[in-house]
């Protein structure tokens, strides 16, 4: 398990370095995810202890957003003056984006689904 913790952190570190050096507009951890994914594809199997580590890390994803969300309230004054228009814009646009992306994937992947008769 400790070994895989080191691997996960190592991927993040490599991702951060890559993001800084190349100036890619993607956060380091996301590049780290790509690296770890590439390693797994190369290896061709998922080690049991890495799987349980990932399970533990991902079980409470919501938790990790709490400190940032608390921090946001400190900047809430920035939103206050235009609160109504901002909230309407965020809510309506989130719903529209959800609908567009969801409907497109569902409509476009229906064909492949039928072919495989899953």
């Amino acid at each position: 398990m400790v070994f895989w913790i080191a691997v996960v952190l190592g991927c993040q570190l490599a991702g951060e370095l890559t993001a800084t050096l190349t100036g890619l507009p993607v956060p380091g951890p996301v590049l780290g995810m790509v690296l770890l994914f590439g390693y797994l594809v190369f290896r061709g199997e998922l080690p049991q202890s890495l799987d349980s580590l990932a399970g533990a890390l991902l079980r409470h994803l919501y938790l990790y957003f709490v400190p940032a969300a608390v921090g946001v309230t400190a900047h809430f004054a920035l939103v206050r003056s235009q609160l109504v228009s901002i909230v309407i814009a965020v809510v309506v646009s989130s719903a529209i984006a959800l609908a567009v992306a969801g409907l497109l994937v569902q409509a476009l992947s229906r064909n492949t689904e039928q072919k495989d008769a899953v």
Binding site: L40, L58, V70, S94, A97, L98, L104
Partner: protein, 239 residues
């Protein structure tokens, strides 16, 4: 407060232990409530934790920086957890590969829709130029969104607020919206959550279904890239 208590408070308020513990406790309470309501998306644990913690910090006159001394350990976990998203993605890779064209189209269209609808609606409602530019990258993960906002002349700290707001909005409204328009495919639901509301939407997707979570992680990662390329281009066309 008597002297003994005062002393303990002075000691505790300067160690990271307190900030860390109250963060975990607030989340545990939020999560328990969420579980008790059978994972109803309206009972969002992040929102509950914030509603518990903010008054606590205000009452105890604790500045955010001192709270963050402790909370940073939880915040730090965002990085390794993001890397670990590779595992569900690997598990469902065969499904990802099969619907790759659909994902690509949905990603670009969803990304453009999120930007244009947010900016368009706020513009119609008379928001300031600075707000519009800060609103444009709100559907991607915070560091990328703040970078884009800075690049196009928005206010990065306002963008940070809008990113969290969009994340929670998507996590709360996603299930209902997707049910309403009859998107039942877990892959489609996952992509929609990741495109509209980044990591917070992905957290919600994982609570519901692992396949949806895997697709949401993918959409979150790719949307960071798509939005970083598309937003500056769209803004250049619009202005």
């Amino acid at each position: 407060m008597n002297d003994g208590l005062q002393e303990i408070w002075v000691y505790l308020s300067t160690t990271p232990l307190l900030g860390l513990t109250i963060t975990l406790c607030a989340y545990v309470l939020g999560y328990r409530l969420y579980r008790k309501c059978r994972f109803n998306p309206l009972v969002n644990p992040v929102l509950i934790a914030v509603l518990l913690l903010v008054p606590l910090l205000l009452v105890s006159d604790t500045p955010y920086s001192r709270y963050f001394d402790g909370a940073q350990f939880v915040h730090f976990m965002l990085g390794p957890a993001t890397v670990a998203l590779a595992i569900p993605l690997y598990r469902y890779f065969h499904l990802v590969r099969r619907s790759a064209p659909a994902i690509g189209v949905a990603l670009v269209c969803g990304s453009i829709t999120a930007v244009l609808s947010a900016v368009g609606i706020a513009w119609l409602l008379g928001a300031s130029r600075e707000t519009l530019l800060s609103l444009a990258p709100k559907s991607v993960t915070t560091p990328v969104a703040m970078g884009i906002a800075e690049q196009i002349g928005g206010l990065p700290s306002l963008t940070a607020v809008l990113v969290i707001l969009s994340g929670i909005t998507g996590a709360v409204l996603g299930t209902g919206t997707l049910n309403l328009i009859r998107v039942r495919d877990w892959r489609a639901r996952g992509i929609a959550m990741g495109v509209a509301s980044h990591g917070i939407g992905t957290a919600r997707a994982f609570n519901v279904n692992e396949l949806a979570g895997a697709f949401s992680s993918l959409a979150m990662g790719l949307n960071a890239l798509a939005t970083a390329v598309l937003v500056p281009a769209l803004i250049a066309i619009l202005t």
